[in-house]
Symmetry: C2
Subunit: 219 residues, 2 copies
Protein backbone atom coordinates (compact mmCIF):
# COMPACT_ATOMS: atom_id res chain seq x y z
CA UNK A 1 0.00 0.00 0.00
CA UNK A 2 1.04 3.54 -0.54
CA UNK A 3 1.39 5.87 2.43
CA UNK A 4 -0.83 8.89 2.67
CA UNK A 5 0.93 12.09 1.69
CA UNK A 6 0.11 15.72 2.13
CA UNK A 7 0.34 17.68 5.38
CA UNK A 8 3.52 15.73 6.06
CA UNK A 9 1.48 12.56 6.53
CA UNK A 10 0.71 13.41 10.14
CA UNK A 11 -2.76 12.66 11.41
CA UNK A 12 -3.88 15.67 13.43
CA UNK A 13 -6.28 13.80 15.72
CA UNK A 14 -4.12 10.76 16.37
CA UNK A 15 -3.90 9.52 19.97
CA UNK A 16 -0.49 7.98 19.29
CA UNK A 17 1.45 10.70 17.53
CA UNK A 18 4.71 8.90 18.29
CA UNK A 19 3.72 5.67 16.57
CA UNK A 20 2.22 7.26 13.49
CA UNK A 21 5.11 9.68 13.22
CA UNK A 22 7.62 6.91 13.59
CA UNK A 23 5.97 4.84 10.90
CA UNK A 24 5.84 7.77 8.54
CA UNK A 25 9.38 8.69 9.49
CA UNK A 26 10.77 5.40 8.28
CA UNK A 27 9.02 5.67 4.96
CA UNK A 28 10.04 9.29 4.58
CA UNK A 29 13.64 8.46 5.34
CA UNK A 30 13.81 5.79 2.67
CA UNK A 31 12.03 8.04 0.25
CA UNK A 32 14.59 10.74 0.94
CA UNK A 33 17.44 8.28 0.42
CA UNK A 34 15.99 7.31 -2.94
CA UNK A 35 15.66 10.94 -4.00
CA UNK A 36 19.22 11.75 -2.93
CA UNK A 37 20.58 8.78 -4.84
CA UNK A 38 18.50 9.68 -7.88
CA UNK A 39 19.69 13.30 -7.83
CA UNK A 40 23.32 12.24 -7.63
CA UNK A 41 23.10 9.72 -10.46
CA UNK A 42 20.91 11.84 -12.70
CA UNK A 43 23.35 14.73 -12.25
CA UNK A 44 26.22 12.57 -13.48
CA UNK A 45 24.69 10.33 -16.08
CA UNK A 46 21.64 12.21 -17.25
CA UNK A 47 18.11 11.12 -17.96
CA UNK A 48 18.58 8.20 -20.29
CA UNK A 49 21.87 7.13 -18.84
CA UNK A 50 20.17 6.37 -15.55
CA UNK A 51 17.93 3.38 -14.88
CA UNK A 52 15.68 2.70 -11.93
CA UNK A 53 17.86 -0.22 -10.99
CA UNK A 54 20.89 2.10 -10.76
CA UNK A 55 18.96 4.29 -8.37
CA UNK A 56 17.59 1.39 -6.36
CA UNK A 57 21.05 -0.11 -5.93
CA UNK A 58 22.52 3.20 -4.78
CA UNK A 59 19.70 3.56 -2.27
CA UNK A 60 20.06 -0.02 -1.03
CA UNK A 61 16.76 -1.27 -2.43
CA UNK A 62 15.53 -3.58 -5.15
CA UNK A 63 14.03 -2.03 -8.23
CA UNK A 64 10.47 -3.10 -7.53
CA UNK A 65 10.55 -1.48 -4.09
CA UNK A 66 10.85 1.97 -5.61
CA UNK A 67 7.21 1.76 -6.64
CA UNK A 68 6.14 1.84 -3.04
CA UNK A 69 7.50 5.39 -2.87
CA UNK A 70 6.94 6.65 -6.41
CA UNK A 71 4.18 5.85 -8.85
CA UNK A 72 6.49 5.93 -11.86
CA UNK A 73 9.91 6.88 -13.09
CA UNK A 74 8.44 10.13 -14.38
CA UNK A 75 7.16 11.01 -10.94
CA UNK A 76 10.59 10.46 -9.45
CA UNK A 77 12.24 12.57 -12.14
CA UNK A 78 9.69 15.32 -11.69
CA UNK A 79 10.29 15.50 -7.96
CA UNK A 80 14.08 15.61 -8.36
CA UNK A 81 13.70 18.46 -10.81
CA UNK A 82 11.26 20.38 -8.65
CA UNK A 83 13.62 20.11 -5.70
CA UNK A 84 16.47 21.25 -7.92
CA UNK A 85 14.82 24.53 -8.85
CA UNK A 86 13.70 25.06 -5.29
CA UNK A 87 17.16 24.59 -3.82
CA UNK A 88 18.73 27.07 -6.20
CA UNK A 89 15.94 29.55 -5.63
CA UNK A 90 16.24 29.23 -1.85
CA UNK A 91 20.03 29.60 -1.96
CA UNK A 92 19.82 32.73 -4.03
CA UNK A 93 16.94 34.22 -2.08
CA UNK A 94 18.68 33.59 1.23
CA UNK A 95 21.83 35.33 0.01
CA UNK A 96 19.77 38.27 -1.25
CA UNK A 97 17.96 38.53 2.05
CA UNK A 98 21.30 38.54 3.87
CA UNK A 99 22.37 41.55 1.83
CA UNK A 100 19.76 43.64 3.54
CA UNK A 101 17.28 46.07 2.02
CA UNK A 102 19.82 48.83 1.39
CA UNK A 103 21.90 46.84 -1.09
CA UNK A 104 22.16 48.36 -4.55
CA UNK A 105 20.60 46.49 -7.49
CA UNK A 106 23.96 45.74 -9.06
CA UNK A 107 25.18 44.18 -5.85
CA UNK A 108 22.03 42.08 -5.63
CA UNK A 109 22.56 40.90 -9.19
CA UNK A 110 26.18 40.01 -8.56
CA UNK A 111 25.18 38.08 -5.46
CA UNK A 112 22.56 36.14 -7.39
CA UNK A 113 25.06 35.22 -10.10
CA UNK A 114 27.63 33.92 -7.68
CA UNK A 115 25.17 32.04 -5.49
CA UNK A 116 23.48 30.41 -8.46
CA UNK A 117 26.79 29.17 -9.79
CA UNK A 118 28.07 28.03 -6.39
CA UNK A 119 24.85 26.15 -5.73
CA UNK A 120 25.18 24.41 -9.08
CA UNK A 121 28.85 23.58 -8.69
CA UNK A 122 29.20 22.43 -5.14
CA UNK A 123 26.07 22.61 -3.13
CA UNK A 124 23.31 20.61 -4.70
CA UNK A 125 23.04 17.37 -6.63
CA UNK A 126 19.42 18.32 -7.19
CA UNK A 127 20.36 21.58 -8.86
CA UNK A 128 22.82 19.86 -11.17
CA UNK A 129 20.33 17.10 -11.91
CA UNK A 130 17.69 19.66 -12.74
CA UNK A 131 19.74 21.56 -15.28
CA UNK A 132 20.95 18.37 -16.91
CA UNK A 133 17.54 16.73 -16.95
CA UNK A 134 15.76 19.80 -18.24
CA UNK A 135 17.58 19.54 -21.55
CA UNK A 136 17.01 15.79 -21.94
CA UNK A 137 13.57 15.13 -20.62
CA UNK A 138 10.64 14.37 -22.96
CA UNK A 139 8.29 17.26 -23.80
CA UNK A 140 5.62 16.04 -21.41
CA UNK A 141 7.87 16.34 -18.37
CA UNK A 142 9.37 19.54 -19.66
CA UNK A 143 6.07 21.36 -19.75
CA UNK A 144 5.11 19.98 -16.36
CA UNK A 145 8.30 21.58 -15.12
CA UNK A 146 7.92 24.89 -16.93
CA UNK A 147 5.88 26.57 -14.21
CA UNK A 148 8.59 26.04 -11.59
CA UNK A 149 11.28 27.44 -13.84
CA UNK A 150 9.06 30.36 -14.70
CA UNK A 151 8.85 31.46 -11.09
CA UNK A 152 12.60 31.34 -10.62
CA UNK A 153 13.11 33.04 -13.97
CA UNK A 154 10.91 35.92 -12.78
CA UNK A 155 13.36 36.59 -9.95
CA UNK A 156 16.11 37.10 -12.53
CA UNK A 157 13.93 39.30 -14.67
CA UNK A 158 13.35 41.49 -11.64
CA UNK A 159 17.00 41.68 -10.71
CA UNK A 160 18.00 42.72 -14.21
CA UNK A 161 15.09 45.12 -14.66
CA UNK A 162 15.84 46.89 -11.40
CA UNK A 163 19.54 47.16 -12.15
CA UNK A 164 18.70 48.64 -15.55
CA UNK A 165 16.12 51.02 -14.08
CA UNK A 166 18.70 52.25 -11.58
CA UNK A 167 21.15 52.85 -14.42
CA UNK A 168 23.60 50.38 -12.95
CA UNK A 169 23.73 48.19 -16.03
CA UNK A 170 23.53 49.08 -19.70
CA UNK A 171 20.12 49.61 -21.17
CA UNK A 172 21.03 48.98 -24.80
CA UNK A 173 21.06 45.19 -24.55
CA UNK A 174 18.09 42.83 -24.56
CA UNK A 175 17.60 41.92 -20.93
CA UNK A 176 16.03 38.60 -21.76
CA UNK A 177 18.92 37.64 -24.01
CA UNK A 178 21.36 38.68 -21.31
CA UNK A 179 19.46 36.65 -18.73
CA UNK A 180 19.44 33.48 -20.82
CA UNK A 181 23.08 33.83 -21.81
CA UNK A 182 24.10 34.17 -18.17
CA UNK A 183 21.96 31.26 -17.01
CA UNK A 184 23.27 29.20 -19.93
CA UNK A 185 26.92 29.81 -19.15
CA UNK A 186 26.24 28.67 -15.59
CA UNK A 187 24.09 25.70 -16.59
CA UNK A 188 26.89 24.34 -18.71
CA UNK A 189 29.58 24.83 -16.07
CA UNK A 190 29.00 21.52 -14.22
CA UNK A 191 29.80 19.74 -17.49
CA UNK A 192 33.40 20.89 -17.52
CA UNK A 193 34.22 22.19 -14.04
CA UNK A 194 36.79 20.12 -12.17
CA UNK A 195 37.45 21.02 -8.51
CA UNK A 196 41.15 20.21 -8.98
CA UNK A 197 41.45 23.22 -11.27
CA UNK A 198 40.56 25.59 -8.47
CA UNK A 199 37.85 26.55 -6.02
CA UNK A 200 34.33 27.17 -7.30
CA UNK A 201 34.43 30.58 -5.64
CA UNK A 202 37.20 31.65 -8.00
CA UNK A 203 35.22 30.53 -10.99
CA UNK A 204 32.18 32.41 -9.72
CA UNK A 205 34.30 35.54 -9.35
CA UNK A 206 35.74 35.16 -12.82
CA UNK A 207 32.26 34.80 -14.24
CA UNK A 208 30.84 37.84 -12.51
CA UNK A 209 33.90 39.90 -13.43
CA UNK A 210 33.62 38.89 -17.05
CA UNK A 211 29.90 39.49 -17.11
CA UNK A 212 29.89 42.89 -15.46
CA UNK A 213 33.20 44.49 -16.35
CA UNK A 214 33.88 42.57 -19.57
CA UNK A 215 37.04 41.14 -21.03
CA UNK A 216 38.41 44.41 -22.37
CA UNK A 217 41.25 45.93 -20.33
CA UNK A 218 40.08 48.10 -17.44
CA UNK A 219 40.14 51.76 -18.28
Amino acid sequence: MRPRRGVAGVSETSQQPDASQRASAKSDLTRQRVLDAAAQIFARRGFSGTTLSDIAKAAGLKTGSLYYHFASREDLVAEVMARGVRQVAESVEAALAALGPEARPIERLRTAVEQHLLCLLERSDYARANTKLSSEVPPHLRSLHAANEEIYGALWKDLLAQAAAAGEIRSDLSLSAVRMLMLGAMAWAPEWYRPEAGPARDLARTFSEMTFAGLLPLR
Copy 2:
Protein backbone atom coordinates in the same frame (compact mmCIF):
# COMPACT_ATOMS: atom_id res chain seq x y z
CA MET B 1 27.42 -6.32 -48.26
CA ARG B 2 29.03 -3.09 -47.22
CA PRO B 3 30.39 -0.73 -49.84
CA ARG B 4 34.07 0.04 -49.92
CA ARG B 5 34.90 3.38 -48.40
CA GLY B 6 37.96 5.57 -48.53
CA VAL B 7 39.13 7.55 -51.53
CA ALA B 8 35.47 8.37 -52.10
CA GLY B 9 34.86 4.77 -53.14
CA VAL B 10 36.03 5.45 -56.67
CA SER B 11 38.10 2.80 -58.38
CA GLU B 12 40.93 4.61 -60.14
CA THR B 13 41.52 1.97 -62.80
CA SER B 14 37.89 1.28 -63.66
CA GLN B 15 36.97 1.07 -67.32
CA GLN B 16 33.41 2.17 -66.51
CA PRO B 17 33.85 5.15 -64.24
CA ASP B 18 30.24 6.18 -64.86
CA ALA B 19 28.79 2.91 -63.67
CA SER B 20 30.94 2.58 -60.56
CA GLN B 21 30.49 6.23 -59.70
CA ARG B 22 26.75 5.98 -60.10
CA ALA B 23 26.60 2.94 -57.85
CA SER B 24 28.63 4.60 -55.14
CA ALA B 25 26.70 7.80 -55.63
CA LYS B 26 23.42 6.14 -54.75
CA SER B 27 24.83 4.62 -51.58
CA ASP B 28 26.51 7.86 -50.60
CA LEU B 29 23.35 9.81 -51.17
CA THR B 30 21.31 7.55 -48.93
CA ARG B 31 24.05 7.59 -46.34
CA GLN B 32 24.05 11.36 -46.43
CA ARG B 33 20.26 11.41 -46.05
CA VAL B 34 20.52 9.20 -43.00
CA LEU B 35 23.18 11.41 -41.45
CA ASP B 36 21.16 14.56 -42.10
CA ALA B 37 18.06 13.03 -40.56
CA ALA B 38 20.07 11.80 -37.58
CA ALA B 39 21.65 15.20 -36.99
CA GLN B 40 18.27 16.91 -37.08
CA ILE B 41 16.59 14.49 -34.69
CA PHE B 42 19.54 14.18 -32.32
CA ALA B 43 19.72 17.98 -32.15
CA ARG B 44 16.09 18.15 -31.06
CA ARG B 45 15.57 15.10 -28.93
CA GLY B 46 19.02 14.20 -27.74
CA PHE B 47 20.84 10.92 -27.46
CA SER B 48 18.43 8.75 -25.57
CA GLY B 49 15.35 10.43 -26.92
CA THR B 50 16.25 9.28 -30.41
CA THR B 51 15.89 5.72 -31.67
CA LEU B 52 17.22 4.19 -34.83
CA SER B 53 13.68 3.72 -36.04
CA ASP B 54 13.05 7.48 -35.68
CA ILE B 55 16.06 8.14 -37.86
CA ALA B 56 15.18 5.45 -40.38
CA LYS B 57 11.66 6.78 -40.74
CA ALA B 58 12.86 10.33 -41.28
CA ALA B 59 15.27 9.09 -43.92
CA GLY B 60 12.61 6.96 -45.64
CA LEU B 61 14.13 3.61 -44.69
CA LYS B 62 13.36 0.68 -42.44
CA THR B 63 15.40 0.27 -39.29
CA GLY B 64 17.31 -2.78 -40.45
CA SER B 65 18.49 -1.00 -43.59
CA LEU B 66 20.55 1.44 -41.55
CA TYR B 67 23.02 -1.33 -40.88
CA TYR B 68 24.04 -1.39 -44.49
CA HIS B 69 25.43 2.11 -44.03
CA PHE B 70 26.56 2.05 -40.41
CA ALA B 71 27.94 -0.78 -38.34
CA SER B 72 26.17 0.34 -35.18
CA ARG B 73 24.24 3.13 -33.55
CA GLU B 74 27.46 4.25 -31.90
CA ASP B 75 29.16 4.61 -35.26
CA LEU B 76 26.33 6.77 -36.52
CA VAL B 77 26.41 8.96 -33.43
CA ALA B 78 30.18 9.28 -33.64
CA GLU B 79 30.03 10.44 -37.25
CA VAL B 80 27.31 12.99 -36.55
CA MET B 81 29.40 14.40 -33.72
CA ALA B 82 32.59 14.49 -35.74
CA ARG B 83 30.83 16.37 -38.52
CA GLY B 84 29.41 18.74 -35.94
CA VAL B 85 32.79 19.83 -34.63
CA ARG B 86 34.17 20.03 -38.12
CA GLN B 87 31.39 22.27 -39.39
CA VAL B 88 31.79 24.71 -36.55
CA ALA B 89 35.57 24.70 -36.91
CA GLU B 90 35.33 25.30 -40.65
CA SER B 91 32.80 28.11 -40.23
CA VAL B 92 34.97 29.88 -37.71
CA GLU B 93 38.21 29.32 -39.60
CA ALA B 94 36.71 30.58 -42.83
CA ALA B 95 35.53 33.76 -41.14
CA LEU B 96 38.93 34.26 -39.56
CA ALA B 97 40.65 33.77 -42.90
CA ALA B 98 38.32 36.34 -44.46
CA LEU B 99 39.47 38.88 -41.90
CA GLY B 100 42.89 38.87 -43.42
CA PRO B 101 46.24 38.72 -41.70
CA GLU B 102 46.23 42.33 -40.49
CA ALA B 103 43.21 41.88 -38.20
CA ARG B 104 43.86 42.58 -34.55
CA PRO B 105 43.55 39.71 -32.06
CA ILE B 106 40.49 41.20 -30.40
CA GLU B 107 38.74 41.42 -33.73
CA ARG B 108 39.61 37.82 -34.50
CA LEU B 109 38.23 36.76 -31.14
CA ARG B 110 35.01 38.68 -31.66
CA THR B 111 34.60 37.11 -35.09
CA ALA B 112 35.10 33.62 -33.67
CA VAL B 113 32.47 34.23 -30.99
CA GLU B 114 29.87 35.43 -33.42
CA GLN B 115 30.52 32.75 -36.03
CA HIS B 116 30.47 29.97 -33.48
CA LEU B 117 27.13 31.12 -32.15
CA LEU B 118 25.62 31.70 -35.58
CA CYS B 119 26.71 28.27 -36.74
CA LEU B 120 25.11 26.71 -33.69
CA LEU B 121 21.89 28.66 -33.97
CA GLU B 122 21.04 28.63 -37.61
CA ARG B 123 23.58 26.96 -39.79
CA SER B 124 24.13 23.41 -38.72
CA ASP B 125 22.02 20.58 -37.32
CA TYR B 126 25.30 18.73 -36.88
CA ALA B 127 26.73 21.45 -34.69
CA ARG B 128 23.63 21.49 -32.50
CA ALA B 129 23.54 17.71 -32.36
CA ASN B 130 27.19 17.62 -31.35
CA THR B 131 26.83 19.98 -28.39
CA LYS B 132 23.71 18.23 -27.17
CA LEU B 133 25.10 14.74 -27.65
CA SER B 134 28.43 15.54 -26.04
CA SER B 135 26.74 16.02 -22.68
CA GLU B 136 24.60 12.88 -22.92
CA VAL B 137 26.74 10.31 -24.58
CA PRO B 138 28.26 7.38 -22.62
CA PRO B 139 31.91 7.73 -21.52
CA HIS B 140 33.15 5.44 -24.25
CA LEU B 141 31.86 7.69 -27.03
CA ARG B 142 32.85 10.80 -25.15
CA SER B 143 36.51 9.86 -25.04
CA LEU B 144 36.43 8.77 -28.67
CA HIS B 145 35.28 12.28 -29.39
CA ALA B 146 37.67 14.08 -27.10
CA ALA B 147 40.46 14.37 -29.66
CA ASN B 148 38.25 16.26 -32.13
CA GLU B 149 37.10 18.70 -29.48
CA GLU B 150 40.67 19.15 -28.32
CA ILE B 151 41.75 20.41 -31.72
CA TYR B 152 38.94 22.93 -31.93
CA GLY B 153 39.54 23.94 -28.32
CA ALA B 154 43.15 24.71 -29.18
CA LEU B 155 41.97 27.31 -31.70
CA TRP B 156 40.17 29.11 -28.89
CA LYS B 157 43.12 28.86 -26.57
CA ASP B 158 45.22 30.53 -29.24
CA LEU B 159 42.72 33.29 -29.89
CA LEU B 160 42.50 34.14 -26.19
CA ALA B 161 46.22 33.83 -25.56
CA GLN B 162 47.07 36.13 -28.45
CA ALA B 163 44.50 38.71 -27.42
CA ALA B 164 45.90 38.64 -23.91
CA ALA B 165 49.51 38.86 -25.13
CA ALA B 166 48.61 41.88 -27.22
CA GLY B 167 47.05 43.51 -24.17
CA GLU B 168 43.66 43.63 -25.85
CA ILE B 169 41.88 41.66 -23.15
CA ARG B 170 42.43 41.58 -19.42
CA SER B 171 45.21 39.40 -18.12
CA ASP B 172 43.90 38.99 -14.57
CA LEU B 173 41.30 36.34 -15.42
CA SER B 174 41.86 32.63 -15.97
CA LEU B 175 41.81 32.23 -19.73
CA SER B 176 40.66 28.63 -19.54
CA ALA B 177 37.76 29.57 -17.29
CA VAL B 178 36.85 32.40 -19.64
CA ARG B 179 37.00 30.07 -22.61
CA MET B 180 34.75 27.45 -21.08
CA LEU B 181 32.26 30.01 -19.80
CA MET B 182 31.97 31.52 -23.26
CA LEU B 183 31.63 28.16 -25.00
CA GLY B 184 29.10 27.12 -22.38
CA ALA B 185 26.89 30.16 -22.82
CA MET B 186 26.82 29.44 -26.54
CA ALA B 187 26.34 25.69 -26.16
CA TRP B 188 23.22 26.30 -24.11
CA ALA B 189 21.74 28.88 -26.46
CA PRO B 190 20.04 26.40 -28.83
CA GLU B 191 18.06 25.15 -25.84
CA TRP B 192 16.20 28.40 -25.39
CA TYR B 193 16.69 30.44 -28.56
CA ARG B 194 13.52 31.00 -30.59
CA PRO B 195 13.88 32.67 -34.01
CA GLU B 196 10.58 34.52 -33.45
CA ALA B 197 12.26 36.52 -30.69
CA GLY B 198 14.69 38.06 -33.16
CA PRO B 199 17.51 37.30 -35.57
CA ALA B 200 20.40 35.18 -34.43
CA ARG B 201 22.76 37.96 -35.52
CA ASP B 202 21.30 40.22 -32.84
CA LEU B 203 21.82 37.59 -30.21
CA ALA B 204 25.39 37.08 -31.36
CA ARG B 205 25.99 40.83 -31.08
CA THR B 206 24.46 40.98 -27.63
CA PHE B 207 26.67 38.13 -26.52
CA SER B 208 29.89 39.62 -27.82
CA GLU B 209 29.00 43.03 -26.41
CA MET B 210 28.28 41.55 -23.00
CA THR B 211 31.42 39.44 -23.09
CA PHE B 212 33.84 42.14 -24.17
CA ALA B 213 32.45 45.38 -22.83
CA GLY B 214 30.45 43.95 -19.91
CA LEU B 215 27.08 44.85 -18.50
CA LEU B 216 28.22 47.92 -16.59
CA PRO B 217 27.31 51.26 -18.17
CA LEU B 218 29.82 52.48 -20.76
CA ARG B 219 32.24 55.00 -19.34
